[in-house]
């Protein structure tokens, strides 16, 4: 009796609550999906050039405000992250990986390891990445980084105890063209070696 009389109001209320939840859910989804529009993709590496320009889109702005980061200006450089290896399998802290040259053209670059939320991992090396200047190179200029929880010789990065991590490649004063999709074979190759 009571329900029948107010069923219209009840339905309207349900619609409002459902709409609110659905709207917030899509916001969370879209903000977790990246920094707005037009990513640059090269194999496992992704960059969002539109995040570093003054007229960045509302999604990019919302993500930046939420994560508490200060993006690199488009004129300063580009940041590429990778959450999978070159074959597309997600990175796993229990596995060893090898990163191999080349890197795209840039005045300087740094290549490091970072949590999906953008923080550093405490690890026994006290090292979070290598720069184009301080990395050990082979004869001929190539390089190789071994990513492992266990001590390695040469260039070694450790994700510590973390299970999930991303690689982050920052190109400073890069001449990379952001209007065309870059080639994957100009970027470091990520190979899974073995898993614990």
């Amino acid at each position: 009796m009571f329900l029948e009389r107010y069923s219209l109001y009840l339905r309207a209320g349900l619609v409002m609550i459902a709409g609110l939840l659905l709207g917030l859910f899509t916001t969370v989804l879209s903000l977790n999906a990246g920094y707005g529009f037009n990513p640059l993709e090269a194999g496992p590496w992704t960059a969002w050039p539109s995040v570093g320009v003054p007229d960045s889109d509302p999604y990019a702005r919302a993500v930046v405000a939420r994560t508490g980061e200060s993006p690199l200006g488009r004129d300063q450089g580009l940041v590429f992250t990778a959450s999978t290896d070159s074959s597309g399998a997600p990175l796993d802290g229990a596995c060893d990986y090898s990163l191999e040259d080349p890197t795209p053209p840039a005045r300087f670059w740094t290549l490091g390891i970072v949590s999906p939320r953008g923080s550093l991992f405490a690890n026994p090396t006290g090292r979070f990445g290598y720069s184009s200047v301080d990395i050990l190179r082979h004869e001929g200029g190539g390089f190789n980084i071994h990513v492992s929880r266990n001590i390695q010789t040469g260039n070694w990065l450790s994700p510590g105890e973390a299970r999930q991590f991303n690689f982050i490649l920052r190109l400073y004063d890069t001449t990379l063209d952001v209007d065309t999709q870059p080639k994957a074979d100009h970027f470091p190759k990520i190979t899974k070696l073995n898993c614990a």
């Binding site: 509302p58 919302a62 930046v64 405000a65 939420r66 300063q76 939320r117 923080s119």
Partner: protein
């Protein structure tokens, strides 16, 4: 024939979607204004914690657990200048040694970047930048009419609060201490508009 039940349900479903779309758009657009821990808030609370109201705030080395901003490059030595243009314009001067990557990025509160340069575009190795709102820029323009050519770069800031992030790349870990000293020579200060 479409069953009656479905026809009855359709307007409610449409209404739900409408509300969801509105909630989604509003929440994305409001995020920069409402996010409690955006880059500006993090830097401002750090400056307050170390007791610096005016001038350059040297940021601590980027190590796990001590990061102020997320997604910062651990190879960098950083400082920030936090400004409020509501009363007076702001002057930033810094010098680059031409060898190390030195980037200045200008962020509005909310984290959006509105200008970015590197030492490549410094004039004779010097950065000399004035920030102001539109009214202050006009006053400066009038004051300097017909005077000597401009020495400094003038930038109109989109919001009265914001920060300048100064980043110097320490190509080797051993460069960090020297660059930390170098960043101390950066000057950031509010100044009075010339009286006319």
């Amino acid at each position: 024939m479409i069953p009656d039940r479905l026809l009855n349900f359709l307007p409610w479903a449409l209404a739900t979607l409408m509300i969801a779309a509105m909630v989604h758009l509003v929440s994305v657009l409001l995020m920069p204004a409402l996010a409690p821990k955006d880059a500006y808030a993090r830097l401002a609370s750090y400056a307050k914690a170390v007791g610096i109201n005016e001038g350059v705030v040297a940021l601590p080395p980027i190590t796990p657990g001590a990061e102020i901003l997320s997604f910062e490059d651990a190879s960098f030595v950083e400082a920030a200048c936090i400004y409020d243009l509501s009363k007076r314009p702001y002057h930033v001067t810094a010098s680059a040694d031409g060898e190390d990557f030195f980037g200045l990025s200008f962020h509005a509160s909310g984290g959006r970047i509105y200008h970015a340069i590197t030492d490549r575009s410094a004039i004779k190795g010097k950065f000399d930048i004035i920030l102001g709102n539109a009214r202050q820029m006009e006053a400066l323009e009038n004051a300097s009419d017909g005077a000597a050519p401009l020495q400094e770069v003038r930038i109109t800031a989109p919001t009265s609060r914001g920060f300048v992030l100064l980043r110097v790349l320490a190509k080797r870990g051993s460069d960090q201490a020297r660059l930390r000293e170098q960043l101390k020579s950066v000057k950031c200060e509010h100044f009075d508009l010339p009286k006319d």
